[in-house]
């Protein structure tokens, strides 16, 4: 289980991004962290993975205080993080990256299975460099595959929908449905897409750096949908 206690973090100009966040993420659930842009979701995810060090507060993972542990140490304990904007590498191939993630050499069928899970045609990708020639949707899927290859207790996906087209996104939702059924660990997905929220077990709403609501998806989701302030297309041109 992941537990955050009174986490605070602010920008250099003093503006608070995480304002005393306390949260519990249970084991073996799909938890979606949602909320308005700029609310602190990505900062929260990076804090758990160790990319950001909180100013105050504690983080416990399976009862162990990991607040002072660095990124590598947390990764070795079983925390994985899929970047919102995946990193590109000149020279490293998809196979290289998946093997680094798995921590061992992978047999061809294992790589095929991983790529198949994220909906990539295996033969086209195994030996491709993870460089600028990959499309936004392709690299996003490879990023997710690197996290799946680690098969850790906690997998964090930071806005998997960001930067990909509508058609690729539809496929990604299926990927997460599949992962939910096959992976035993906890999945924590940062998202504000309704279709991702619909497959959640639990939902946490983060707004203005605070936990606005959290609980079972069937309780939280109806409130989110009814309270949506997102303008519909026909409202955009309407007179105020």
């Amino acid at each position: 289980m992941l537990r955050l206690e009174n986490i605070k973090w602010s920008l250099d100009d003093g503006r608070g991004i995480l304002n005393d966040v306390s949260l519990e993420i249970p084991d073996a659930k799909l938890v979606v962290i949602t909320g308005p842009n700029g609310g602190g979701k990505t900062t929260l995810a990076k804090t758990v993975a160790g990319l950001i060090t909180p100013e105050s507060g504690k983080i416990f993972f399976d009862g162990q205080d990991i607040t002072e542990l660095d990124i590598t140490q947390r990764a070795k304990l079983g925390i994985s993080y899929a970047f919102q904007q995946p990193v590109r590498f000149k020279g490293l191939t998809v196979r290289d990256l998946l093997e680094l993630a798995a921590g061992r050499q992978l047999k061809q069928p294992e790589i095929c299975e991983l790529l198949g899970k994220v909906g990539l045609c295996k033969n086209d990708f195994i030996d491709r460099e993870v460089n600028a020639s990959l499309s936004g949707g392709e690299i996003k899927r490879i990023e997710i595959a690197t996290v799946l290859a680690r098969n850790t207790k906690l997998s964090i996906f930071d806005e998997p929908e960001a930067g990909i087209d509508l058609w690729s996104f539809a496929g990604l939702v299926d990927v997460f449905k599949e992962v939910k059924n096959k992976v035993k660990g906890t999945l924590m997905i940062i998202s504000h897409q309704e279709r991702i929220l619909e497959i959640a077990d639990e939902i946490v709403v983060i707004s203005a750096g605070k936990v606005e609501a959290s609980g079972a998806a069937q309780e939280i989701l109806p409130k989110l949908v009814s309270g949506s302030r997102t303008p519909r297309p026909c409202e955009r041109g309407a007179q105020a």
Partner: protein, 305 residues
């Protein structure tokens, strides 16, 4: 053949006790072993030190090895090797070079290679360079490669300088005929106070000729690298050069690509990027469980692969 040569051969040409195909092993300026085959004839050059290698037309799938090793200080080896590749042949040439120092004097190999490719022939040229030995003598390798590509021929040059070469100046000059293709993939790593200079000059003379030049380098510590390329488009042709360099420590790199379009239908492109390893790349690999040092090593080895 001495033990140092055997060790160098393992590194530069995957030598496992024998070569399969035609070969000539050069050790400290002398021929240590030679073998021709029915289709590939290796002979001593009459007017200068070196070899003349004739590959018969339509020879397919054969390999020729011409490694050169300098195994002690005080050797300044100069060699001229000429390759004549017959029409329609398709072969691989493996030409590594290792220099080893045993004292304070310099050890140097200067290989001047000429490639003349006839119509429709294809050559894959593989070259690895390395310097070994803990003595203070300077290790130097200065290869010069002159290439003449005939109609619809194709030369792919895959060159690597691994480490330990104090000074190198690599010069490659090419003239391409109609439909000819030249592909060069160069990787260089320098550390300590090593210096490496590469100079490319390619004339795209023939209609629909093309060159693709890719250089990747890593400059560590106090080392210095210089890259200069000239691609001259003299006909309907395509030219592409890409120069990427990673800086580690106080390594320095100077890149000056030059494109000369002398024909209205010459399409020439250059891309260059020099800088440290992106912090995001290190972070990504750390989230996979690697330490910062392991991540850096993986990024560099992948980049130079």
């Amino acid at each position: 053949m001495n033990e140092t040569t055997k060790e160098l051969l393992k590194i530069i040409s995957d030598f496992d006790g024998e070569f399969k195909g035609a070969y000539n092993i050069r050790e400290d300026g002398q021929c240590a072993a030679r073998e021709s085959t029915e289709n590939i004839k290796i002979e001593s050059k009459k007017d200068a030190p070196g070899l003349v290698i004739h590959i018969k037309p339509h020879t397919k799938g054969e390999k020729v090895y011409i490694p050169a090793c300098v195994t002690k200080s005080g050797v300044d080896d100069l060699v001229y090797n000429d390759f004549y590749v017959g029409e329609g042949a398709d072969v691989t040439i493996v030409a590594g070079c290792g220099v080893h120092t045993t004292g304070v004097e310099e050890a140097r190999h200067n290989g001047i290679h000429r490639f003349i490719l006839e119509k429709d022939s294809k050559v894959l040229y593989q070259e690895k360079h390395i310097g070994t030995g803990k003595q203070e003598g300077i290790r130097r390798i200065d290869p010069v490669t002159d290439v003449e590509l005939g109609e619809n021929s194709k030369l792919t040059m895959d060159t690597v300088q691994l480490s330990g070469v104090d000074y190198t100046t690599r010069t490659t000059r090419g003239v391409l005929g109609e439909g000819a293709k030249l592909i060069i993939k160069e990787r260089i790593m320098t550390d300590g106070k090593e210096q490496a200079k590469t100079d490319f000059y390619v004339e795209l003379k023939g209609e629909n000729s093309g060159v693709d030049l890719m250089s990747r380098s890593v400059a560590r510590d106090e080392s210095y690298q210089e890259y200069h390329s000239v691609i001259k488009g003299m006909n309907v042709c395509t030219g592409h050069s890409e120069c990427d360099a990673i800086l580690v420590g106080n390594g320095k790199v100077s890149a000056s690509p030059q494109l000369d379009a002398e024909h209205p239908d010459a399409a020439l492109i250059h891309e260059a990027a020099i800088g440290k390893i992106a912090g995001e790349q290190i972070l990504k690999l750390r989230t996979l469980g690697l330490t910062e040092e392991e991540a850096e090593q993986k990024i560099i080895s992948g980049f130079l692969k």
